[in-house]
């Protein structure tokens, strides 16, 4: 029966069956990986046993016994554990990343827009900044700011100051710090209420505009709610905050807010470096909006401001957001270069001091990597969510 023979699948040698082959390849790959992992673990166990290092996370609760120059949470060399040191380092990393992201965004947007300016000098100046900064390694810039600029600042006696309020010398940057007394909760509460109110008002205004076409002064009202309300509360509560000014003594500066020179150098370096990259992202994003869009907006009778706000920026943001996210992540990862200028970030404290003291290489490196991985994943998830919200909705 020739028909029955034809209807069956063609007879192929198992060797040439794509399915069999694909399974075979994957089995081989898995076998290799399992073998490598197994031998790595066995070697590690051997080597650790020979070096008499107990593996495990027992060190987490041991006393750290070293000092940290900048601690956002309570920490002392004698009483605190390695685990506490980890949190101190993590918070320092997050601090520098958060400050850096805000400042680099400002620098990047200003320079990116300036580079597209019709003003010849300004455009060339921005281009020069971007090209120079982008082509020099970040580490070199950090070392330059720290060793050649901040270390070369005058010492305490001749420190630069503005009206006895702000001081800059080779020990760091000193500024007044706010001191809160009771009643500040009222101001904080007013701020939260203001933000919630502003969001609610913006929603109501959008609904009203969708229904009637009438616009409302959202910006002004939001400003009044977010800044005005806490101000009113501040005075109503009898001004529960004062500024503590730094006082210059003979040997040190007491009081006020002290910012370590390491943090200043790291921030300047990161902000200038990442700012140059963000400038390029912004420039590419704005240039991606075709000129026809601007012209069409003009033809509809929109003035320059509304054209930018309603037509160009929303479209440019779609192009800008994804690369901007990766620049934020780069900044966070690059903040690990803190170790070279001695700023006590996660890598300096944990992968540096803790690793040297305990010898728990595998655990320490793994924890550090896990932290950066989680920061990366959380940021990408947040940015993806935002990106999905503003993405072009196509049918």
């Amino acid at each position: 029966m020739s028909i029955a023979q034809d209807s069956g699948p063609p007879k192929v040698s198992l060797l040439y069956d794509p399915k069999v082959r694909s399974i075979a390849y994957q089995v081989i790959l898995c076998a290799i990986i399992v073998f490598l992992a197994y031998s790595a673990v066995r070697n590690a166990a051997d080597n650790l046993a020979r070096a008499k290092i107990a593996s495990g996370f027992g060190f987490w609760n041991q006393a750290a016994g070293f000092d940290i120059s900048q601690t956002l949470i309570e920490y002392s060399a004698n009483a605190s554990t390695y685990g506490r040191a980890f949190w101190v380092g993590l918070l320092n990393t997050l601090l520098v990343a958060a400050l850096g992201i805000v400042l680099a965004t400002i620098v990047g947007f200003l320079v990116g827009i300036a580079r597209l300016s019709k003003n010849f000098l300004l455009a060339k100046l921005s281009a020069g900044y971007v090209e120079t900064i982008r082509n020099v390694p970040l580490l070199l810039q950090l070392l330059f700011w720290y060793n050649a600029v901040l270390k070369a600042l005058p010492d305490l006696r001749d420190s630069w100051g503005i009206g006895g309020v702000i001081f800059l010398n080779n020990r760091g940057f000193f500024a007044p710090s706010p001191v809160f007394s009771s009643g500040i909760e009222l101001v904080a509460g007013a701020f939260v209420v203001g933000v919630i109110g502003a969001i609610a008002y913006a929603r109501w205004a959008k609904k009203k505009q969708d229904a009637t076409g009438k616009q409302s002064p959202v910006g002004l009202v939001a400003l009044a709610l977010i800044i005005g309300l806490p101000l009113v509360a501040f005075f109503a509560a009898g001004m529960p905050a004062t500024l503590e000014f730094p006082e210059k003594g003979r040997f040190n500066i007491r009081g006020g807010l002290e910012i370590l020179p390491e943090l200043v150098a790291l921030l300047i370096g990161l902000v200038f470096y990442t700012g140059a990259f963000i400038a390029e992202v912004v420039r590419a994003g704005i240039m991606a909006v075709s000129k026809g869009q601007t012209e069409a907006a003009g033809a509809l009778g929109l003035r320059n401001g509304p054209t930018l706000k309603l037509v160009v920026i929303p479209q440019a943001m779609r192009v800008i957001i994804p690369p901007l996210t990766s620049q934020y992540l780069n900044l966070t990862k690059n903040s690990s270069l803190a170790v070279f200028v001695g700023y006590p970030d996660l890598v300096q404290i944990f992968t540096g001091t803790v690793l040297n003291q305990t010898g728990q290489a595998v655990e320490v490196v793994m924890i550090t990597m896990a932290v950066y991985l989680s920061i990366s994943l959380v940021t990408s998830m947040a940015m993806n969510w935002y990106n999905a919200r503003i993405a072009l909705v196509e049918r």
Partner: protein, 386 residues
């Protein structure tokens, strides 16, 4: 002859010669016009011009003064670069760079053997020139030379090979520009093929292959290079038997190659995604197998459009090589760091001089790479222009 008669009629109110157009107002042409249009067109523009001019005036003259005017060009030790009564302002201490120049280039590589490093640089330069010059003859041979011949020969040359009379030079003696070039070049040579494999793996239909590629790429891209180098430096020796423990330089090279491969994989993947599905289907329809399809049809097109991004990855890699100091390797920046705190040259401007010199070095390399990427981009865009 009607036309001729009409022409010859002499009416006084008819012009006989074309009158030249009047010149444009002086304020809109030439230098003045340009300045008015580009610098002073409105109040905001004037303010921006003033601001930029002030900024330039504030930045540029001090730099020129530091680098040229007040610079010290010759001298044998720190005395030359110290400020004195008759010369209170001291700029860059170029005498220091001149004195330390060979250390910056070779590190502690033994002096009688330094010709080997020179040969290595020359071989590399020939290879780079051969590959980058697009009209060069036999560029396929050039690729073979660059990716196969040079690595083997230079390994023998730099590391030494007793049987042919080359003294062994331990990698702990290597340093300076030599190490910077070796590290970035190893990264460049290894990251492209590994990156291509990872990118293909990530787009593969085999779940195990895909999973492995995704995990590797996302893991490496999610952590800072420093931690990868730490891992290579402190964990790698644990994972291999004691006898095979790799030396410091090799560990750093492995870390850099891993890191660069993951970034390269994403660049190549973007190129692969830009190739229309019809190309894959067409290749399959003419009966090509997977590797033939990739090698003959897909990769040539995908790599072509990713060349600018590949070069940009290389620039990043070149800058990142400075981080190998964390595992105790004397790259170029490290030699500058060590020299600038040398008491023999302790002077107020020594540090800044060292950093400016290093910055110029890195800038020249990175800027020429990015120019090359731009020119390739422009050349490729020609084909798409209608």
């Amino acid at each position: 002859m009607a036309v001729a008669t009409q022409d010859s009629v002499n009416h006084s109110y008819v012009r006989h010669a074309q009158v030249d157009a009047m010149p444009a107002p002086a304020a809109t042409t030439g230098a003045i016009g340009w300045i008015r249009a580009n610098l002073l067109s409105s109040a905001t523009n004037i303010a921006l011009t003033l601001f930029s001019a002030l900024l330039i005036f504030w930045i540029v003259p001090p730099i020129i003064e530091f680098v040229f005017v007040h610079a010290v060009w010759s001298g044998t030790d720190r005395e030359a670069c110290l400020p004195t009564a008759e010369r209170p302002e001291v700029g860059a201490c170029w005498a220091f760079v001149h004195d330390r120049f060979s250390y910056f280039i070779y590190g502690s590589y033994p002096i009688p053997e330094r010709w080997r490093v020179d040969v290595f640089f020359a071989m590399l330069a020939v290879g780079i020139f051969w590959l980058l010059w697009l009209e060069a003859p036999r560029r396929d041979l050039g690729a073979l030379y660059f990716f196969v011949v040079v690595p083997i020969v230079s390994y023998i040359l730099l590391n030494g090979f007793e049987t042919i009379g080359l003294r062994r030079v331990d990698t702990s003696l290597w340093g300076g520009v030599l190490v910077t070039i070796v590290v970035s070049w190893v990264g460049i040579v290894f990251s492209l093929p590994i990156g291509i494999l990872l990118a293909l793996g990530r787009r593969s239909h085999m779940p195990a292959v895909k999973l492995f590629s995704v995990i590797f790429i996302e893991f490496v891209r999610g952590v800072p290079l420093i931690t990868v180098l730490f891992m290579a430096s402190v964990m790698l020796p644990l994972f291999v038997p004691d006898a095979y423990s790799p030396d410091k330089l090799l560990r750093a090279l492995i870390g850099i190659a891993m890191f660069a491969s993951a970034y390269m994989a994403e660049v190549v993947r973007a190129g692969l995604q830009a190739i229309p599905k019809g190309q894959y289907e067409g290749a399959m329809a003419v009966g090509l197998g997977y590797w033939q399809m990739m090698y003959l049809i897909v990769l040539p097109q995908a790599l072509k459009i990713t060349i600018p991004n590949i070069v940009n990855t290389y620039i990043g890699l070149f800058k990142d090589t400075t981080l190998v100091v964390i595992v105790g390797i004397f790259d170029f920046l490290r030699t500058v760091e060590v020299s600038r705190i040398d008491p023999k040259w302790a002077a107020p401007t020594t540090s800044a001089t060292g950093y400016v010199f290093a910055a110029i070095f890195y800038f020249i390399f990175c800027y020429s790479m990015s120019r090359y990427a731009k020119s390739v981009e422009a050349r490729l865009a020609k084909g798409d222009r209608r």
